[in-house]
Amino acid sequence: MSLKQTPLNAAHRAMGAKMVDFGGWDMPVNYGSQIEEHHQVRNDCGMFDVSHMRVVDVKGAGVRSFLRYLLANNVDKLTQPGKALYSCMLLDNGGVIDDLIVYFMREDWFRIVVNAGTADKDIAWMQQQAAKHAPQLLIADHPELAMIAVQGPNARAKVWDALPGSRELTEHLVPFSAVEMGTMFIARTGYTGEDGFEIMIPAKAAPYFWATLAENGVKPIGLGARDTLRLEAGMNLYGQDMDETINPLEAGLAWTVDLKSERDFIGKAALLANPPAHKLLGLVLLDRGVLRGHQQVHSVHGAGEITSGSFSPTLEKSIALVRVPKEVQIGEQVQVSIRDKMLTAKVVKYPFARNGKAIVSL
């Protein structure tokens, strides 16, 4: 089967990207050095092609009440047009179908951005639920929209330089909100722990915009650095830190689940019936080596498993997210099985780094 390509595929190749198969997409993993790209975003800014992610518009009367039931977070928190909310979409048993961002545009229009690998499954689920509860709604995905994330302390200023008229529209945009600009959609969101924008743009216009950003000094960043940036920022990755077999309360996402309001939502009964036995914490490796997903962790309270691990360019140490018994406390030491050795790691509160700085105390 041939790999899917984004509208920026040729641009990546022209910029010297090393391309890899990323869940069926032909995507840039780096353009030279992943570590340099990581620092580039923490210290200045860089741009990512995230066009493989899918935009889904849900339109019609009663969208809000449908999403109130569909999502684990409560869309009633969204009162201002353009405001965004991070949420999980759950199965009846509480397992996570996907994590997503939902934007409130109008009372008859909410926009949802879902992960690439789960997009088709997500849309099928939404349509199945809408058929039962809100058949009047129109659920339409937009694979013709490309998405470019520009992230870093200088990201917004660079976008303003590259895109005439954008400054006036977005200078006062509060974090986690979005505004339309012609056929573009500019959101002050991201997946790096830095300030910046995620910009949706028609596929045809994407290569020109990408080239304009490059001319304004914005460096391209591969998906390799995107992963270490999000890990340092303590942001979950679907498929690694949670999936359909894990509920959000055991994946460090309790803050995104609204169990306080009276409203019912898919998965709520299962979450209330099954108090979490595990939690997600951070790890910093004290010995030499590199933490990786699926390594087994041994604590005095029982076994756990690393869900995401890598080398942190900001801390210059190996870090991880780990699912452990709920009794494990911050500051404790655990042993990690790496090949034929047991290495010592310290349990920490994450995020590890944000806004250019390490924020974990060792």
Binding site: V29, Q34, I35, G224, V290, S318
Partner: protein, 129 residues
């Protein structure tokens, strides 16, 4: 970067250089470091360890992944390059200078029988398809 003609190679992407004292230095090839990306950790074998040909004996880890390094021939480990502990990125910068460990081969003829640069390049080329 081309693969130096004075070295020998394995299909598992190690290079082998015969030193003047008859020991061999082992590192990973340009192709291997490029596949792995930025190196962040190297684990070397203990000096004195006896190795069989194709035995796993060292590990290189990049930001992206871990990879085993194999003994190209049987022999005894005589030295390790401990500078790589603090500067694993030297493997990216200079793959054919950054040796990982040295061995005294049991049979020097085993080294002579390893692939030359041309045969190794053919393997790299075939992996690209």
């Amino acid at each position: 970067m081309s693969n130096p003609a004075n070295l020998k190679y394995t299909a598992s992407h190690e290079w082998i250089k015969t030193e003047s004292d008859g020991t061999i230095s082992i590192g990973i090839t340009q192709h291997a470091q490029e596949l792995l990306g930025d190196m962040v950790f190297v684990e070397s074998p203990m000096v004195g360890r006896k190795l069989k040909a194709k035995e796993e004996c060292a590990v290189v880890e990049s930001v992206k992944a871990a990879a085993d390094v194999y003994a190209p021939v049987s022999g005894v480990v005589t030295a390790v390059n401990s500078e790589l502990d603090s500067t694993p990125e030297a493997i990216n910068a200079d793959p054919y200078g950054a040796w990982m460990f040295r061995m005294k081969p049991d049979h020097p003829a085993d080294v002579a029988a390893l692939m030359d640069a041309k045969a190794y390049q053919a393997i790299v080329d075939s992996e690209a398809h």
